[in-house]
């Protein structure tokens, strides 16, 4: 036990020495007492002219932009429209443009941002509803177009007495796992330059999901998945601008998925017979 005490004492000392601004080892943190929160306000249904409202927010070290917005909503102006739920970057609700770049509000600490003003605007490339809230119907529709489910005649278990799984080694899983991190937050869709003008382009989220299911050894739709995205406004409208992967908060790297899928369409990458086998139930 003594070892642990020593370790803790040591760490505490280290912590005390650590400059407050260095606690987060990925990005420099800045600490301040107050920030100004600029919030984009408009009710599109009412044809409101967009305006920016300023709120003074007292900050604490751990505060996120979502915390700041909810503070404003609770105590300064309760009519701010905002979408949020999990506050831990797993539901994908709170995407918005923070200082011009698409980010998750609950995943952006105020201390990571420079300057004393923070500007929150709704995601672009999504139809606007009100204030920070945008309409995701088309985005979800694109996802659905990719047939994002396992297609396999054995997908539904018919004989409940003979239960068994498809065999997949950890390596098989790693081939698609990264792409199933996607929380459908839409940040990539908002950042992509093609989506900015092409209304029929499925966007990085949907295309990387097509790869996710393509690369899954349990799925047997292989070539049909490739053909489905090979249209005029399909996968070729991605020019590897990489902005999707840049803004993705979950490390999905949609750009990678898209390029890999394209490799299969072009025949750069062989599509060997990859269907997983059902384990013999014992």
């Amino acid at each position: 036990m003594n070892q642990i005490i020593k370790k803790i004492r040591m760490l505490e000392k280290k912590n005390n020495q650590k400059d407050m601004t260095k606690i987060n080892n990925t990005k420099a943190e800045t600490s301040r007492q107050m920030v100004v929160l600029n919030v984009y306000r408009a009710n599109t249904h009412r044809n409101d002219l967009p305006r920016v409202e300023k709120f003074q927010i007292p900050v604490q070290r751990w505060m996120t932009v979502l915390d700041a917005l909810l503070f404003a909503k609770s105590y300064l102006d309760s009519s701010i429209a905002i979408r949020y739920s999990c506050r831990m970057a797993s539901c994908g609700s709170c995407g918005m443009k923070i200082n011009g770049v698409p980010k998750l509000a609950c995943y952006t600490k105020i201390s990571e941002l420079q300057g004393n003003t923070i500007t929150c605007e709704p995601l672009s490339n999504f139809p606007h509803i009100r204030d920070l809230v945008t309409d995701f119907s088309q985005f979800f529709e694109h996802h659905k177009e990719m047939a994002p489910f396992i297609h396999n005649n054995n997908a539904d278990i018919k004989d409940e007495n003979k239960l068994s799984e498809f065999k997949q080694t950890p390596q098989d899983v790693d081939n698609y796992l990264q792409f199933s991190y996607c929380i459908k937050c839409g940040l990539c869709y908002s950042a992509c330059p093609t989506v900015a003008t092409d209304t029929k382009f499925p966007g990085p989220q949907a295309l990387s999901q097509a790869y996710r299911y393509y690369a899954d050894t349990r799925d047997d739709l292989s070539n049909r998945r490739l053909n489905a995205v090979d249209g005029k406004h399909g996968i070729w409208r991605c020019h590897f601008a990489g902005s999707c992967s840049k803004v993705c908060p979950k490390g999905v790297d949609p750009a990678l998925g898209i390029q890999l899928l394209r490799g299969h369409i072009m025949g750069y990458s062989r599509n060997e017979n990859k269907i997983a086998k059902l384990r013999d139930p014992t």
Binding site: I4, I80, A81, S85, C91, F136, I150, I157, E165
Partner: protein
């Protein structure tokens, strides 16, 4: 007058339970027209936050067996679980694991390609099936994506249900507000399933999503249905400060230590054999003791806490199996768990209670079922074991989905719904809340309410605190807080928040009332003034109905099959 939308089956809530029910119903009858209505976009339900695992017996050839899972569940519940229900869960679970696997779930695998399992608190065998530490997220994704296969499932993203419509004791539909447009509409359906999840936001320090408010429970409660065992609120040992975000039990399952400011693994005093992997109520109580006896740390926000140490697990292991935890630590606490212990504190995590149902998830209203955390089919009794809740959602999602679908096929068209109820409901929400002229800021009321719950109905309870809590909550209810500043129709989250706060007040009251009446300590309910379990007087479920005055409380028997109550030791 409100528009009407007709369906054959309406599922309220789109967490694990709701989506599983939708698939189950859709595959029972492909002609059924199914609606999934949720106040969030459907794939954003709170279930995405579940981290650690889903319990099932799948390695019988390696020594696990169903009997043991059943017993662990009942023992975990402090013998308040209905034993036939626990048995149904355990027998149905292996199927769910494999079914999810066939639908694309990225379960973590062993080298030989088989599904892997990890240790979890309160179990005698490692049987938490996991997918890294994002189990709930992957399950939600798998179910949502699979739902897209069915053309007869219609999603209603961001529709807030406000009340249940019924005819005598028959379900007729619900009223709802489409948030995008602000329109008030009624859904008409012969069958319904409530899957609105837990209510943990009635506490301030809570692992729950902001959307986990008790409006679903309250809807049922207002429709005259009973809420059962509401006093049993689970406190999870490890929530980080100050946000309450969860460090999964999987972190202890993988071998993490809980330590106090003496650097001591204090759990050896409280649960000598299972240590950190005793059931959650035991661990949380031990932690509160440590803190009360002055062996806690002080977090910079001023709150007392303890620490969990994972650093000895090694970088590789953490990155592979607890990547999400590491991310949460770095992002929200500024601590990399690979390097140093992280501050944690017991945190409100699960409601064992809910809408009173039978073993099949049927409520007291014909045509209405409830599943998932919103339901109380008495699986968890006085304390739930970790990883059993996602299991419950899957199993009862499937069961209720099938039963409701069959019912809907037999009762195709609904006779017209009572306009009277719709008008009453419009009055309640629009005249009573939206246009009401309160002066007190509703968000202040919410803060006071949740702080009261944290202070008065926490892990250790006593008569005085509970009485004060009840008084306070009733006082808050009386205050002139009912008003909505935001007068727009479209996406009015202020209005939604006010309706949520309204339901929170009523639900908090019944939690406190139940806790007040239960003069014993059982599972998660620990009374300092009645420190022992009292099987003679309280081996029964609490039941509460809404009245115009105080809730009407009564009792309901526990079902026993094979296991006699005995003292719990870990």
């Amino acid at each position: 007058m409100a528009d009407t939308i007709s369906h054959d089956l309406i599922i309220i809530g789109s967490g694990l339970a709701g989506l599983r029910a939708a698939i189950s119903a859709a595959s029972t009858h492909d002609s059924l027209n199914i609606a999934v209505v949720a106040k969030v976009q459907v794939m954003r339900s709170h279930s995405v936050s579940a981290e650690g695992g889903t319990a099932a017996v799948i390695f019988e050839e390696e020594g696990d067996n169903k009997e043991s899972h059943i017993y662990d569940t009942i023992k975990g519940s402090d013998f308040l679980a209905d034993q036939d229900v626990a048995e149904l869960l355990v027998r149905s679970m292996p199927f769910e694991i494999y079914q999810l696997e066939h639908w694309g779930m990225p379960w973590s695998r062993r080298e030989n390609g088989r599904i892997d399992q990890r240790k979890f608190g309160g179990y005698s065998f490692p049987r938490a099936t996991y997918a890294q530490d994002k189990v709930g997220f992957y399950e939600m994704q798998t179910l949502y994506d699979t739902c897209l296969k069915y053309d007869n499932i219609h999603f209603y993203n961001e529709w807030f249900c406000t009340s249940i419509l019924s005819d005598a004791k028959d379900f007729r539909g619900v009223t709802a507000i489409e948030m995008k447009s602000g329109d008030f509409v009624k859904f008409k359906a012969p069958a319904g399933i409530i899957c609105t999840g837990g209510a943990g936001r009635i506490y301030s320090f809570s692992t729950y999503a902001y959307s986990s408010t008790p409006d679903g429970l309250d809807m049922a409660y207002r429709a005259g249905l009973a809420l059962k065992d509401m006093e049993f609120v689970q406190f999870h040992p490890t929530g980080i400060l100050p946000s309450g975000i969860l460090i999964t039990e999987g972190a202890r399952g993988e071998g993490g230590y809980l330590i106090n400011n003496q650097g001591e693994r204090f759990m050896k005093k409280y649960a000598p054999t299972k240590l950190e992997l005793a059931s959650r109520d035991v661990v949380s109580r031990a932690m509160m003791r440590e803190i009360q006896e002055g062996r806690g740390f002080k977090h910079e926000s001023g709150v007392d806490c303890l620490k969990i140490d994972l650093s000895h697990l090694g970088e590789d292991n953490i990155k592979k199996r607890l990547a999400g935890i590491r991310e949460i630590g770095i992002k929200f606490s500024g601590i990399d768990v690979i390097e140093e212990p992280i501050e944690i504190r017991p945190v409100c995590h699960y409601m064992m209670g809910g809408i009173h149902t039978n073993i099949n998830g049927a409520t007291e209203m014909t045509g209405l079922w409830a599943a998932g955390e919103a339901a109380c089919n008495s699986l968890h009794g006085a304390n739930r074991l970790g990883a059993n809740s996602t299991s419950e959602c899957l199993v009862w999602g499937r069961i209720t989905g099938r039963l409701a679908a069959e019912y809907a096929v037999d009762h195709p068209s609904v006779s017209s719904i009572s306009q009277h109820q719709v008008i009453e409901e419009e009055k309640r929400i629009y005249d009573g809340l939206f246009r009401s002229r309160g002066q007190v800021n509703p968000y202040e009321i919410r803060k006071e309410l949740t702080d009261t719950m944290d202070a008065k109905a926490h892990i250790f309870r006593n008569e005085k605190d509970l009485a004060e809590g009840l008084k306070k909550v009733r006082h808050l209810k009386q205050q002139a807080w009912k008003h909505v500043d935001d007068h727009a129709k479209e996406y009015n989250t202020n209005f939604i928040n006010v309706m949520e706060i309204d339901s929170m007040l009523r639900t908090a009251e019944i939690v406190l009332a139940g806790a007040f009446n239960r003069r014993e300590s059982r599972g998660a309910h620990a009374r300092t003034d009645y420190p022992n379990r009292d099987d003679i007087n309280f081996l029964k479920h609490t039941i509460g109905y809404l009245t115009t005055q105080e809730p009407k409380m009564s009792w309901h028997p526990v079902t026993f099959t094979r296991y006699a109550p005995m003292e719990r030791k870990y």
